[in-house]
């Protein structure tokens, strides 16, 4: 039995927050802080915490409520100050990220930003009048892919082309990151030697590079093309780095699918993720049919949540079940009873309908 190690600490975010918000966030109980997935800071509206499948407003004393009128409200200047702090008071240094709508913070956290979009011709130049910031708490779950790894390796020196699929917020990227770490490091337990790996990290979510340094452990044989679009990144990696494996997140366009084909033709293996409920769902997408089934990805890892419980399964290219676990290792389930300070039961969460569908 493998045990996943969870890393990621809210205190690493709170040091970026304006004083008043920091005081509130510091008061959140460690139990709740460890389960917080997002912190939504919106000018003029209550501070909100997002957990696995539900959200609650945050009160001034760090407890949670579903009544917005009793929650802590964020001021407009505070959102602006937060934005400048996240940019290290150097907006120009983050202008490409800002144009894409998010900033990667030291520690691997990502802050999505909203405001008035500024165009230059057809392209987004930047953003002004920042009105909200959504800080996504990045947590590495080292070991969460250990159990499924034997099903995606093909001998001691090769892996199957693998696709991780799930609806949003079910842990695709977390799983992908750990698979990448194992491929790059190798696994004594599984009898697998490490392989040269390149991550094409278009949205800086896998390695979460900050000033060129990966904030997450992606293994010693991993090179990262940070902020690079997938088609160009795959081509650059093939030309320059001769990788055995290329790791990409969120394939979604026909161009992405064609790039994957190109990598296969060049002899590289691909480990990728895509938003979908199951392989059938993905097969019907424009340009994606050729990636699923015979001659496509040889392994599919499907993640989901059913009745609040996370599950993971591995199938081969023909849909034959190779592995199934109704408790994805190390990941929090969607439903749990929330407790505020003083053991006050705040509520039982509802599951997101999107995640409830099982393949």
């Amino acid at each position: 039995m493998y045990k996943a190690q969870r890393t990621g600490d809210l205190s690493r975010i709170s040091c970026n927050l304006p004083d008043r918000i920091k005081r509130v966030v510091d008061r959140i109980s460690p139990e709740m802080a460890s389960r917080l997935e997002e912190l939504r800071i919106n000018a003029g509206v209550p501070l909100m915490g997002v957990f696995s499948g539900f959200d609650r407003f945050i009160c001034e004393d760090g407890t949670f409520t579903d009544k917005p009128e009793t929650a802590f409200r964020v001021g407009r200047e505070e959102v602006e100050e937060l934005f400048y702090r996240l940019c290290e008071h150097s907006v120009y240094a983050y202008q490409e990220d800002i144009a894409r709508g998010f900033i990667t913070i030291k520690g691997g956290f990502r802050a999505g930003i909203c405001g008035r979009v500024v165009y230059q011709g057809q392209a987004i130049k930047g953003m002004k009048d920042i009105s909200s910031v959504c800080i996504r708490v990045s947590r590495e779950l080292k070991g969460c892919a250990e159990e499924i790894f034997p099903f995606i390796m093909s001998g001691s020196h090769d892996i199957w082309n693998t696709m991780v699929i799930s609806p949003p917020r079910c842990g695709k990227t977390t799983m992908l990151r750990d698979i990448c770490r194992i491929i790059s490091t190798g696994s004594e337990k599984a009898g697998f030697a490490g392989l040269r790996t390149v991550i094409v990290d278009e949205r800086s979510e896998i390695a979460a590079c900050y000033m060129g340094i990966a904030q997450n452990d992606c293994g010693p044989r991993t090179d990262v093309l940070d902020g690079c679009r997938k088609p160009e990144g795959i081509e650059m990696a093939l030309r320059g780095m001769s990788p055995a494996v290329i790791v990409v997140d969120e394939l979604g366009t026909r161009q992405d699918a064609e790039s994957v084909r190109m990598a296969w033709n060049a002899g590289a293996r691909i480990v990728a993720t895509a938003h979908a409920y199951d392989t059938g769902d993905l097969r019907e997408r424009l340009g994606f049919g050729m990636l699923i089934g015979k001659g496509g990805f040889e392994r599919c890892i499907v993640l989901g949540i059913r009745d609040g419980k996370r599950w993971v399964k591995v199938t081969d290219a023909y849909g034959n079940l190779l592995y199934r676990n109704d408790k994805a290792p190390g990941m929090h389930d969607g439903i749990f009873r929330m407790h505020g300070h003083g053991d006050e039961a705040v509520g039982e969460a509802e599951r997101q309908a999107a995640c409830a569908s099982e393949a």
Partner: protein
């Protein structure tokens, strides 16, 4: 005494010229390399490229990094703390107080414009300091020589 006063005027002009050179460094690091301000200031202080301005940039970089203040506030604090080490007049310090105010708040294009504006301002200040060094400096030197000669005559 006259020589010392004259040298101080020359140092003032050189300090302003140095800050003008530093602007080129800032322009390269910020607009071309896209490094954040605290890193640029840190590099400037580390490489000793800053000359007499090294303590100001070292302190500003530290404030930016540790106290998370904006560049304007960090610069003002650092300038106030290190003013005694700079060969500048009160008028110069007043004019330079707002130097950091617009740094870091906009995109590269606008930062370039901000730095160009500062370059023009510094060029005018340096020109004034150069003229002062030539005219007033010569006056101090001549006065110093005259006073020295007068003292020698009196002693004889």
């Amino acid at each position: 005494m006259g020589m010392r006063l004259s040298a101080r005027l020359k140092d003032r002009q050189l300090a302003l010229q140095k800050l003008k050179d530093i602007l080129l460094f800032l322009e390269n690091e910020m607009c071309a390399m896209g490094k954040p301000l605290n890193k640029v200031f840190e590099d400037l202080a580390k490489g000793n490229y800053g000359g007499v301005w090294t303590p100001v940039f070292h302190l500003s970089g530290g404030i930016l990094k540790e106290q998370s203040l904006n560049a304007g506030s960090a610069w003002r604090i650092a300038l106030k703390e290190t003013a005694a080490t700079l060969p500048l007049t009160l008028e110069d310090l007043d004019l330079l107080r707002d130097f950091g105010e617009l740094l870091g708040k906009t995109d590269r294009e606008m930062q370039q414009a901000v730095l160009n504006m500062e370059k023009e301002k510094l060029a005018a200040m340096e020109q004034k300091a150069r003229e002062a060094a030539e005219t007033t400096g010569r006056l101090y030197r001549n006065l110093g020589a005259l006073m020295g000669a007068a003292a020698v005559i009196l002693l004889i």
